[in-house]
Each structure stands twice: as C-alpha cells, then as structure tokens.
Amino acid sequence: MSTRTVEMALATPGLDAQGRPNRLPLMAVSGTSDDEFGAEHMLVNIGPQHPATHGVLRLVLELEGETVIRCIPHIGYLHSGFEKLGEYRHYNQIIPLTDRTDYLSPMANNVCLALAAEKLMGIEITERCRVLRVIACEMSRIISHLVWLGTTGIDLGAFTPFLWSFYQRERIYNLQEAWTGARLTTSLTRVGGMMADVPEGWEAGLRDFCQTFPKTLDEVDTMFTRNSIWCGRTQNVGILSAEEAISYSLSGPMLRASGVDYDVRKDRPYLGYETYDFDVPVGEHGDIYDRYRVRLEEMYQSNRILEQALDRLGRLKGAPLNTSDHRAILPPKSQAMSDMEAMIHHFKQVMEGVPAPAGEAYMGVENPKGELGYYFVADGTAKPVRWRIRPPSFINLACLPKLCEGALLSDVIAINASVDIVMGEIDR
C-alpha cells in the first residue's frame, strides 16, 4: 500500500519561460514501489555537513529497507568560479587559484598549470626544473593517497592507520613548507620555471623520508590487505567493469582498478616520466578493494620515482633552474636592480603579464585523483580567453549513482570514500 504522492510526474526535464531548468527531475523507478513485506521507501539525506562525505557533498538516497534504490548527488556548495576568475588574471596569477582546487595535492596542480601555459607559449624548461617538478608531483601523490587511506580507514572503522598515515603526511608537509613557505597554498611553479629552488640540505630530508616511509606502507599492508573485516567491507562492493569505467570517462586509480591500463605518465609522457623506472598497478575486479590495492602500490611506486629523482637532482647541482628567456620569467632580483634590460623585463611582466600567442593547448597530467587537464584558449593577450579545468574528481564522482545502485546504505560510505573526491576540485 504505497502512499507515494507524486510518482508519475517525476521526470520533468526542460526549461521554463525564463530559460531556467524545471523542477528537479527524478526519474520514476519502474516496478519498485513496495517490497513483499509492505515496507515503504525511505529517503535519507547525507551531507552536505557530514564527515563521511569527505567535504560538502550532499547525497539524497532512496532506500528500500537497507538497499539503495537510487542515489542523487547534489554538488556546488563550494563553487568559487575559479574558471571565470582565471579569465581575469595573468597566467602566473592563476597559479594560486590552482592551489585551492585540489587542495590535497596543491603542488601537482601548480605543475600542471605551468606545463599547460608553457605548452601554449612554446617555452622549454630546464632539466633541473623537470626533476624538481617530478619530485613535487610524486610528493603530492603520496600525501593525497595518505589522506585517502586514512579517511577511508576511519570510514570503515579502522582508526590506527589514520594516525600512521597522517604522521607520514606531516613529514611531507614539513618538507613542502621548507621548500615553498606554505603547507597548503604552495604556488610552487612559475611559467618557465619554479618559484624557488629547494633550500640547502633539503634533499637529505626527503631522502630520509623515502627510506623510512615504505615501513609505514608495509604496516598498513599488514593491517588491511588480509584483514577479514576490511576484505568483507571492500571486496565485491562498488564494482565497475572496464567498459563501464571507460564509458564514464573515469581516470586515475578508479580507471586502473577496473583493469584499464591507462596512466598519463606512461601513455602521454611529460616531464621526462618515460625515463623513470616505475610500474603502474592495474586491478582486475574494479571494486573498492582493488582501488585500495592500486593506491597502496602507487605510493610504493611514487617512492621509487622520488629516489630516482633525488639521484638526478644530486647530479644537477648548480644547474640552472629557470629558463634563460627573461621575457617569460622574472630575472633574478639582483639582476633586475643592476641591469637595465632585466629591469624592463621585470617591470613588463609585473605590470602587463606574459602574452601568449593566439591558439589553444590542452595539457593533461596524472594527478593523484586521475587525469587533471588544463585547457587554455588564448587570443594573444596576457590573460586567457578560457581556462578550463578537467577535474578528475568531478568526472569520477559522476559514476557514484551507478556504483550505489543496489548497494547497502553502509556500503555507500565505503563506495564514496573509494572514489577519492575533493570538493574544492569538483565545485571549483
């Protein structure tokens, strides 16, 4: 005996006279009004202020008993209009905006933006700059995955690995702070180079991290990988096949856990990633457990890359960091104060910015969450006509309704955690 009031008029897509979308169009679920016990459907709202949604994500769930019939995500609570703001800024001024999109891996976003602008302007960067950017990207991958590991553990009731992973994350944050002066808003790169070189003795700190960090991963591996509770909660939950994962445009660990071997670092190499020795873990079942395994292994691999990059950095001691073309990047301050031409370059860059030739460039990089892409359209001025962020979390989250269909309510928390979202990037 269903008392559902409006069942038929649920799907009402379209626009009203003012061009605004009509009511929230929910599609009617066919033939599932009551189950055999006569239970009615229940509506559960999770978020936007809920720790298990990993940010200001709001999920409206229709339940039949404990089974999710339908999941409707609502996003946009953190919308800041970054793409619009970017159109009013010089290329270098956009870099601080990228810190605030995926704020769990700010350095990797900075690197992607610099690469996109350099592709647009045709600027070659130095070898030392490439190595430092690889270090920045892999450090970001480790801290982002550590946050994922810790919070997912908490969502599933395991508290200790959270403390371990956040302890290790703190060590990277300290290194990040020593390098950039900031823990979160790093703004590390500049178009054509870096904001700063690493300070004296910094490499030793990272080397120490690389040598001791895998021990924590081993401990997490011992704690989780063959833990019956962990396996029970994650295996065969939230499954997505390889075809579905491609159709949903997933990227990063989400795509690879489903068995698709696509990693931007291998398939469209940038920053010389093809010269580093590392493996790309690929899952086969596409469930939460495989996503966990993929991310855990990626941290080991990032550590390998970091060690190789540190070796190269040692060999490049004293090599130039920034491109020598001072029309693209600020000359050293001492030079700007003593040399007329350098001062002119300095003045013009600060006042007018660096113009990009008319054209467009898409630069995709492998960020911790998936493929982050920056797409610039330029018209010859110092500010882009369009700055598009291809947000990996946004696109990965779009498959959440599909993953949650038919799952238990308690699994929704685990599934949502396994997508590894960051709302700053989804809402932008």
Partner: protein, 209 residues
C-alpha cells in the same frame, strides 16, 4: 606557434572523406589537432569516430565550451577525444552561432561520462543538449536566476546587485531545500507541518519553521 607547421592528425582526412562539407575546417595548435564540425552532424561524427576501426576514439576526456571575447564570434562546444588503444588525441569543436539556438545533440548515449560534463556546459554556458535525460543545473542551484556565469556577457560579479545577492542569500534556507519529489519518495510530505506543505507546494524554499 612554431615555424614548421606540424601535420594534422590523419583522422582529419578520414573525416573529410566520410562527412564532406560537415567538416567545416581544421587547425593545429600547439601540436593538437582541432576539427570544427557542423552542429547538425556533430553526434554522427562523434559516433563515427568512436566506433570506426582505425579511429577508435573510445574515451571522452572532456566536454566544455568556449565563449570568445569578440561577441560576433560563435560559441564553441569542445569535445576532447582520446583513443586509449592508439594513444591518440583529437579535439572536435562545434561552433554555435549566438544569434541562433544554442543546441547540440547530447552524446550521453555514446559515453555515460557526458552526463555531468554536459550538465556543466548547460549550467555555465546555457547550451542545451538535445536527448540528455537529466539536463539541469549542476554547480549553481536549481533556482539560480542570474544567467550562465562563464558567458562573456556575464560580469565577474554577477548580474544582480550586491544588495540583491545578499538579500537572496539571507532569504535562502538550505535546510528546506528538498524538492517535493524528493519528499514524496519518503512519504514524508504528509507528515510535514501544514504551513511548510503549503509553501513547498507553491515552490517556495523559504525559512523552515
């Protein structure tokens, strides 16, 4: 741009052979091949690129749009395609004359990933995607009335005055932001206070008493 013009992707020739005049033009910028196509054939062309052997652009990297600073220039819907097997990229653009209707066919039936991407383009640029099953705003809220933020005729601070924006923000109550449809699923509608029922039925999202 570099002095030596790089060759465009071989897909351009194949597209011209298969679709003729529906391929408006092509260009190479920063090493990426861009193909401009007619909006009426855009869906056919994208479907062809996805399924034809030798093309196999099976991965939709991104859907977005570009509005140029020159108001006379058409708005462009941009599809970033990728062939995972062939490791090749192609950018398809659909120019839309701003004096006509801003509408293209949805590619939701080809790639499920187009769902939210097209909703975002609709939300930010006002382009409608015919055949999209659930085309509604995604980042801005349902009742947002200022327009489409990423259009160039939309000022950075919005179309409404700051006072009006503040008034609307204060009047809004996110707690009451369930749609009647959502409430009806839970059979909760009948248990609401009469006053709230009346206001919800009138489409109001006011204060929750």
């Amino acid at each position: 741009m570099t002095a030596t013009a790089p060759a465009p992707s071989p897909s351009v020739e194949a597209l011209r052979a298969a679709f003729g005049t529906a391929i408006l033009s092509h260009a190479v910028s920063c090493g990426d091949t861009i193909v401009l196509v007619d909006r009426h054939r855009a869906h056919d062309i994208l479907a062809w690129l996805k399924t034809t052997p030798g093309q196999e652009y099976n991965y939709l990297t991104d859907v977005t749009a570009v509005d140029y600073r020159d108001p006379g220039q058409p708005l462009e819907v941009v599809y970033q395609l990728r062939s995972l097997g062939r490791k090749a990229d192609l950018r398809i653009k659909v120019p839309l004359d701003k004096t006509g209707s801003l509408e293209v066919d949805s590619v939701f039936d080809l790639w499920r990933g187009a769902d939210w991407l097209e909703r975002e383009v609709f939300d930010m640029f006002g382009v409608t995607f015919a055949g999209h099953p659930d085309l509604r705003r995604i980042l801005m809220w349902d009742t947002y009335a200022e327009g489409h933020p990423l259009r160039k005729d939309f000022p950075l601070r919005g179309n409404f005055t700051r006072a009006e924006q503040t008034r609307q923000a204060l009047a809004a109550n996110p707690e009451a932001n369930y749609s009647i449809e959502e409430l009806s699923i839970a059979d909760a509608f009948s248990e609401l206070p009469d006053d709230m029922k009346r206001r919800l039925a009138a489409g109001q999202r006011g204060e929750l008493s």
